[in-house]
Symmetry: D2
Subunit: 162 residues, 4 copies
């Protein structure tokens, strides 16, 4: 198996409910992601950075992400990201022209509320990376997987489409 | 996206609890698989055949599976199969030398009891097939994905390994 | 079985995640509550009123609740209510001095996120009402069940205690 | 709160899936029951005895249960029992004419497969016992709660009725 780096940047995937204030909050330890990946996928390294909703992500944050990927000792990278600006970040990373295979994924609903969607997204990303041979920046959401330029979020439907 | 044929042959993946007799039984409609795939993966056709635990599968059954794949109008095939003889069936299919990409997957625990494992297996199979370029027979279980000859079930651990 | 009136006033119990805006919102149809009660409890009538977080509930709302209970053709009433001002509403209802058995319950975490807590609260309320012989206003949360004056929310712990 | 003794005798409630043999087996530690009760109900003592499907329960087993209840330092007892002979055991216990409040409950589907039904049964039993004033032997299943002589299992429907 290819060994992977998973970079969790925040977004919906790892949000958990805080009963004391009634809010969904980003779990900065990415516990759900970590358990899911270590139980059902292969060896990987996980780091968490930025930890924001993707609507709040700045180009400064994207530069941090690009730098992290560039310096990482891995060729195959999964970026867990909020869905609203996943395309913006993908384009930013593509302009970096790294010799790496980078796939962005995330979730429309937190793993803590619906583990199936988040698992389907992460695992299809993982499988895709295992067979992928061409460097590039890709998006994988609800079964739509491919070059970041062809996968778009349909805000009306709450899904990604070609 | 590549359009897929999913062939459900039985096994643990689709078992459901029957409260009247207290037994886990194979759901011949593969309802869980159908809902999962249609909600979170792309277009596919699903057929159910054989519907047995893999310990009860005969070479007659394997011939039926091989024939079904051979005649199918699809190049990319997911076979959902019980885990105990997944390797035997994979070898049988490989001897058929079809010009197809065939990935066998399944579940150690029914989707109705733990949806996460079954979803991780199916979705990683799906992602793998989307990027796969070489014909062959593959196995994908708990993150171990590759040529059927290198993925083995560790009965002690209840997991697949290299 | 005693036939019950269940009044859903909002609060956390029936909140569901809206993937389009990333917020938890009160389900005004109380779908989770309705399914739970009709599947696992006995005959009941369910009405939904007010539909607010309990921090936003006014004495005008409480008057509406009291009036609804007073006019209802039921002696045994379950009030599903947010936890933050459950005690205030209970006291308000008690001052109404109705010849009824009223039990307030709710959930710290939405049923859609953790069905077990919400189910435990509703079902213990239901069982209590079936055996209860004395009119009054009661609270039932996380196993603490009794006269509203003796059950308090411990905001530090996020639980109700004596 | 009344402090309770919970006696787990086996049955469906605590069954868990064994991935190595594909069978549902009685968890002799009653882990699910223990976690549920300690998280969402009040103080209790839990003991596990017999640990059989109720179809295999003998009068010798019932004598052991009766003796355990008789010697226990508790007046309020929850007996978790398989559903098929719950009525037989209830009658056996009633003939013991103990000065205790005993409620039998269980589950049609294991907690590990559907936690909602099992939780609803246990929690409604708990609530009922908290308000109950009259000694006797009772059954509480899917919202039907009362003297053991009036609650019957409808095997066709897979539910208990009056």
């Amino acid at each position: 198996m290819k060994k992977l780096l998973i970079i969790s940047t925040g977004g919906t995937f790892n949000k958990i409910y805080n009963p004391k204030n009634g809010m969904l909050e980003i779990d900065k330890d990415a516990t759900a992601l970590k358990e899911l990946a270590s139980k059902w996928l292969c060896e990987f390294e996980l780091i968490t950075i930025i930890n924001k909703d993707s609507l709040e992500m700045t180009n400064q944050d994207r530069l941090e992400l690009l730098g992290t990927i560039n310096q990482a000792d891995y060729k195959h990278i999964i970026v867990v990201h909020g869905t609203d600006t996943m395309d913006v970040t993908a384009e930013y990373l593509a302009e970096g022209e790294l010799d790496k295979c980078i796939v962005l994924t995330g979730a429309m609903v937190p793993y803590s509320i619906d583990p199936v969607e988040a698992t389907a997204n992460l695992a299809s990303t993982y499988g895709y990376l295992q067979a992928l041979e061409e460097d590039g920046v890709y998006i994988a959401m609800n079964g739509m997987i491919g070059d970041y330029k062809i996968i778009k979020k349909d805000r009306e439907e709450g899904r990604f489409t070609l």
